[in-house]
Symmetry: C2
C-alpha cells in the first residue's frame, strides 16, 4: 500500500486550503491505481499537519509514503521544515518507507510550458 | 511591442529570486516571437518591484504589458496586492494596455499532470 501526500504551506484563507484538497483529489483520480490513496497536509496554520497526515496514512496500512512538496521556491520550508516534520514520523516508524519527491518549482521547464498555456488562454 | 512580466513573491534567499529570473529567461526563449521581451518583478523584499519593472518595460517602448502572477494560491497577494501595484502604473500610463493573466495555481488540472510527471521521475 503506497500513499501520496501532497504538502502545501497552509493559508488563513479556507478557500486556498480547499484548493489543495481538491488538487489532491484530482491527483488521486489522475493517478489511477498508481497510489492506493492520496491526501493533503499543511506545513503551518492548518490541519492536518504533516506528522498527523502521515500517521493517518500509516493507520490505513500505508507501507510506503511519498511526500510531494507543493512549493514554488527552494526556501527554508522545502529545505528544512518539511524534511524535519517528515523525519519525526520516519524515526517513529522505521519500517515504513517515506521519501520526499522534488518540490514543484524544481520543474522549471514544465512550469514555463504551463505558464505559456495560461497565457494562450488569457489572450483568447 | 508587448512585454510579459512574471511576478513572484520575492524571497530573502537570493537563489529563490534567481530561479524566478531564470524562469523568465526560459519563458522568453520558449515563447519565441510572441513577446518582444520578458522580465521578472517581485511583490516584496526584492527589486525590481512591480511598478519599477513596468516602468522599465514602458521606457523600452512596451505598449502592452501582460502581468503573470507566479503564485500557487488565490490569497491576498493575488487578489489585492498585485492588482494594486499594477494599477499605480496603469493610472500613470492610461495609453499602455496592462492586463493580469490568471495566477499559476488556477490551472489545477495542468498542475496535477505536472506533479505526476515529477513523481514518475522520482520513482525511476
Amino acid at each position: 500500500m503506497n500513499h501520496l501526500l501532497l504538502v502545501a504551506h497552509g493559508s488563513r484563507r479556507a478557500s486556498s486550503n480547499e484548493e489543495v484538497h481538491r488538487l489532491a483529489e484530482q491527483l488521486k483520480s489522475l493517478a489511477g491505481t498508481q497510489y492506493a490513496d492520496v491526501s493533503a497536509a499543511f506545513l503551518e496554520l492548518v490541519e492536518p499537519s504533516i506528522p498527523a497526515a502521515i500517521q493517518t496514512a500509516i493507520d490505513k496500512a500505508a507501507q510506503e509514503i511519498i511526500v510531494l512538496p507543493y512549493f514554488l521556491s527552494r526556501g527554508r520550508h522545502v529545505v528544512t521544515d518539511v524534511p524535519t516534520q517528515v523525519q519525526i514520523k520516519q524515526t517513529e516508524y522505521p519500517q515504513v518507507k517515506i521519501t520526499i519527491a522534488p518540490y514543484l518549482g524544481a520543474e522549471q521547464a514544465s512550469l514555463a510550458a504551463l505558464l505559456l498555456e495560461i497565457l494562450s488562454k488569457h489572450h483568447e
